[in-house]
């Protein structure tokens, strides 16, 4: 998970914002964005986030790479123009593409893109630790925060364990090939099973070590930083942008 905190160390107005404010405002923005219906409003929202990303000096290549990661999940969207009933725009033999389907697909793709840009803006300008602390202090349940935290902390440990096991398999002449071959399937299943058992044992040892230091509840303490003028200005600005988006989209703020 080396890519996680790649650009969070920069010093820009967006990076300097209190993580709690960033988290709440960006979440609110996210909720509004995924409920927009007009391509025009979505384009405006996208432009606003791009402006934030530009201010935070996040490289375009990095943002595009993050967008590309979501590409596999967009496959289903290509079916929508075919399956939505309405006026035919194009015909491919028995299949036809409807205008309604096309515009629906466009809105969905734009929503997805804008939502990804929002999360990229949040995670690329906030160190993960700060983000977790912010989550805990705005009331996200401790169990969930700890889940994210332990996933990140132990990802490299577990992937190193799996890599070692794979190297050990290879060094005894095993070449991973087709999952259709029974012996390959068995080797893979054993690797996965072993990885699970190791993770479970690791979990027990980690918990024991935590108890050895008198672990009780609540891992994350709220940050001591206090919100200043920048935070309130940012929040007001976000509120204004949200109102503007809703006006463009629905003709009224609510």
């Amino acid at each position: 998970m080396q890519f996680l905190d790649l650009h969070t160390g920069r010093d820009t107005p967006v990076h300097r914002l209190d993580p709690r404010f960033k988290l709440v405002t960006m979440l609110a923005f996210l909720v509004v964005v995924v409920n927009l219906r007009q391509p025009g409003a979505l384009a405006l929202a996208t432009a606003v986030i791009c402006l934030v990303l530009f201010t935070a000096r996040i490289p375009v290549r990095y943002v595009l790479a993050r967008l590309l990661m979501a590409l596999p999940f967009t496959g289903i969207l290509f079916l929508i123009p075919f399956t939505t009933p309405g006026h035919a725009a194009l015909k491919f033999g028995p299949a036809s593409v409807s205008y309604e389907g096309l515009s629906l697909a466009l809105v969905l793709v734009m929503r997805l893109g804008a939502a990804l840009l929002v999360t990229t803006a949040l995670t690329s300008t906030t160190p993960l630790t700060d983000l977790l602390r912010a989550m805990a202090s705005v009331g996200v349940p401790t169990v969930f925060v700890q889940l994210v935290h332990f996933t990140v902390r132990y990802f490299s440990v577990l992937s190193e364990e799996i890599a070692t096991m794979r190297r050990a398999q290879r060094s005894r002449g095993y070449e991973p090939g087709s999952v259709l071959r029974p012996d390959h399937l068995r080797a893979m299943a054993q690797l996965i099973g072993m990885a699970f058992i190791r993770a479970m044992e690791r979990g027990e040892r980690v918990y024991r070590a935590m108890r050895a230091r008198n672990y009780r509840e609540g891992l994350f303490r709220p940050p001591s930083r206090r919100a200043g003028a920048g935070e309130y200005a940012w929040t007001a600005l976000t509120g204004l942008v949200i109102c503007l988006l809703l006006l463009v989209d629905r003709g009224s703020p609510l």
Binding site: D5, V152, R153, V157, V206, A209, M210, A212
Partner: protein, 276 residues
């Protein structure tokens, strides 16, 4: 004054495998004790009893004269600091400072005191300036030192370390030795579980040998001179003792065990040769 007293402790794992049988031992305050034994002799299980992570099924454990009852004992965790073998099991926080602060925060100390202890502990293990580093990007030896700092921050009088030298590179070993020596100079009681007899003869002043869940022998490091005993305990002879075995004629009153003793002996032999 005994730092730790273990009286007739027996423990079997849930599957019925006995791990400790009637173990009794006393650890003097301020001593450097090596608990020796092959894998499976019960070293780790014994250590887990020393700060209440396991409760004895029979017998009793006393720390500084107080009985250890089990999991609800928070005082014993502040008296006996436990450094586990794999730092990845112990150092779980997102930053070094947070991890070192974990114990003090659980003790309910004030934020100022927590910060003070984090700084002081990191300085003691030579990791000043590492506060905001994420542990998963540190070297193994550095993570080990973070683990030790996290325990020192709780201010324990007794430190228990499970195989502390395992997987460390030579520099990491030297640094760890220096840290242990410093703690010993502060008259902390140190307990190290290991199967490294060379480390035990060089470092400890008290040795406990476990075998099959029982105390096989305890005493000063000179018990590690006994080749027969070591073979029975499935341990090897210290390297220096192996070198001098069969050359008893060269030794003065007793054969050397440590590198230092061996060098002294060789120096005196050389002087004699020069005189002749």
């Amino acid at each position: 004054m005994m730092a730790i007293e273990v009286k007739g402790v027996s423990y079997a794992y849930p599957d019925g495998t006995p791990a400790l049988r009637e173990v009794s031992l006393s650890i003097p305050a301020g001593s450097r004790t090596a608990i020796l034994g092959p894998n499976g002799a019960g070293k780790s299980t014994l250590l887990l009893h020393l700060n209440g992570l396991l409760a004895p099924q029979r017998g009793q454990v006393f720390v500084a004269g107080r009985p250890v009852l089990g999991d609800e004992d928070t005082w014993v965790r502040e008296t006996v600091g436990m450094v586990f073998q794999d730092p990845d099991d112990q150092v779980f926080s997102a930053t070094v400072a947070e991890d070192v602060a974990f114990g003090p925060q659980n003790m309910g100390l004030s934020p100022e005191e927590v910060v003070r202890r984090v700084k002081a502990s990191l300085a003691r293990v030579g990791l000043r300036g590492y506060e905001e580093r994420p542990p998963h990007r540190l070297s193994y030896g550095e993570r080990k030192r973070v683990a030790i700092a996290g325990v020192l921050a709780m201010g324990p009088d007794i430190l228990v370390l499970d195989e502390p030298m395992a997987y460390l590179d030579p520099e990491g070993r030297l640094r760890l030795r220096a840290i242990l020596d410093e703690l010993s100079a502060e008259s902390k009681t140190l307990l190290v579980a290991t199967h490294d007899v060379d480390f035990a003869v060089e470092w400890s002043d008290h040795v406990v040998i476990l075998r099959g869940g029982r105390v096989f022998r305890s005493g000063g490091p000179e018990v590690l001179r006994d080749a027969e005993l070591l073979r029975e305990a499935s341990l090897t002879m210290p390297t220096v003792a192996r070198v001098f075995a069969g050359f008893e004629g060269l030794c003065r009153d007793r054969c050397p065990l440590t590198v230092g003793e061996a060098r002294e002996l060789l120096a005196s032999i050389q002087t004699e040769l020069e005189v002749e």
